[in-house]
Symmetry: C2
Subunit: 307 residues, 2 copies
């Protein structure tokens, strides 16, 4: 189908690989799945009982990418969707989700994506999720993702989440349970500006021997925005976890970080590091001597910090 210009632009912002109506994909627009396709190994089925889709990824999936973007461009809309991913033993898959809101009206536009991952053994899953807001309206752009992930034995789960701009309010809830030998890497990048608010709660339970988790969170808070992070790592077995949260604070912003590390086994090894501070003034000065003005120099430092 032919997409309108607003949708095209939003898709460009939230799908880094470029959204195409090819292979396995599902495009949800203003609460309706407007187009979708299956591939040999990936089948997408509409849920019967509620909004959302079931995505079946079979064991022979080998490096395929599934695109399931969501666009909300109707001011005043609240879109709640449940997406379930069933990933078979040994599958290797990339999933590109993400949601963009274009709000040109005076009412709030909101999307709550509740994603559940059921991952078998020895699978490799890469999950990417970009959040973005735009539009000249006064209505808020709100994104409240809930992500529940069950990582089976010896599986590898990599999660990249990015919220760069335009989201007035977000509350993220991420729950991850890890079986024996599984590995998790989470990279969270967040920038807030103006009066935006962001809350990110994450709970990682290392339930199986030899599981290991690495969580990296990098954020920039500008304007009068407020950010709160609450990552939790709970080690019930012989396991490793490393959580690192770094934030740059600017203007009148506030950043609060409340990590929790909880070792319930003598062989649980958990490390946490967090730092909040202003932009490095030496780096600023150095860039300014190259002829950049303060704003440009800040932009370069922030871009580097978030990449």
């Amino acid at each position: 189908m032919i997409l309108d210009k607003i949708t095209e632009k939003v898709l460009h912002m939230i799908d880094g690989e470029g959204f195409k109506q090819e292979g396995a994909f599902n495009l949800r627009e203003n609460g309706i799945a407007v187009c979708h396709g299956d591939s040999e190994h990936v089948k997408i089925r509409k849920k019967e009982d509620k909004q959302g889709i079931d995505i079946y990824i079979d064991k022979n999936t080998n490096g395929e990418t599934v695109h399931i973007p969501v666009v909300v461009s109707a001011s005043g809309m609240t879109d709640v969707v449940y997406n379930d991913f069933y990933i078979e033993d040994g599958a290797n898959v990339n999933i590109i989700a993400g949601c963009g809101i274009h709000n040109s009206g005076c009412n709030d536009a909101r999307h709550d994506g509740i994603h559940t991952f059921h991952i078998g053994k020895d699978a490799i899953v890469h999950y990417e999720e970009k959040h973005y807001g735009e539009g000249e309206g006064t209505g808020a752009r709100i994104l409240n993702p809930v992500t529940d992930i069950y990582v089976g034995e010896n599986s590898v789960f990599t999660m990249d989440t990015v919220q760069i701009e335009g989201v007035d309010s977000t509350k993220r809830e991420t729950d991850i349970t890890m079986e024996a030998g599984s590995r998790l890497t989470v990279t969270e990048k967040l920038m807030t500006h103006d009066r935006q608010e962001a809350v990110s709660n994450m709970k990682v339970i290392m339930d199986g021997d030899g599981s290991s988790a690495q969580i990296i969170s990098r954020s920039v808070a500008k304007g009068e925005s407020i950010q709160t992070f609450h990552p939790r790592a709970i080690g019930k077995t012989a396991c490793h976890a490393h959580i690192q949260c770094d934030s740059i604070i600017m203007n009148d912003a506030q950043v609060r970080s409340i990590p929790e590390i909880d070792a319930r086994n003598v062989d649980a090894q958990i490390i946490h590091e967090a730092a909040i501070g202003r932009i490095n003034s030496e780096q600023l000065l150095k860039l300014e001597t190259f002829g950049l003005n303060e704003e440009e120099a800040e932009g370069v430092i922030i871009e580097n910090f978030l990449n």
Copy 2:
């Protein structure tokens, strides 16, 4: 006055410098101030309205040490005491508090020491507090200290707390407010064993420009003991804070660390680091090759870690 052998032994454990009935001191035993003395610059007064003392430290105090130990040796006793420290501008003082419980009975023995520090400008205060329990009784030894500290402009406050052994249950509450240019160093050392429980809550509010705080917490959890740490650093102004929590977990123990760093000013710079893990096996092996058995080697490593 002549002290009994149990009191002498407990005092030896909680007062590293050696308690003497000289200078400014106050010995509290089983809920009663049994002996006390003043010095030229430090006056100790019994409170009229409730249990406890007011300690007045004048501006000419220059490096003097005040000893105010507490001993509880009566099983079944709950001793609640309020001690207020009034420290004048420019004073330089060492305060050695601490509480030891000898419980040879089957009832719980408990001491709640509520200490409040009112510190003027340009003062230097070193506060030491050791907690210790012993006795063959089945009754619990419980210590719940509350410490409220107001650090005036450009003052320096150093707090060393140690709980090495024998305390079945402890809940520590420490609240610190810091004025401009003040400096804080807190060192907390904690070891729990058997079925002991320890909770330590600490809140540091950096309220004045140029205030800086360093908090170091080191703990060892053995047996089936459970430890919970909740240090909070709140930066409201241009300030620095560094929190570091390291824990060694052994046997079936559990350690939970929930730090909170909260930056409410662009010039607040706050860093947190925490690690929980088992004893370094390479260090163990090395000591064992020198002829130490496993228990001895563990003892050496723990002692080094806590010192």
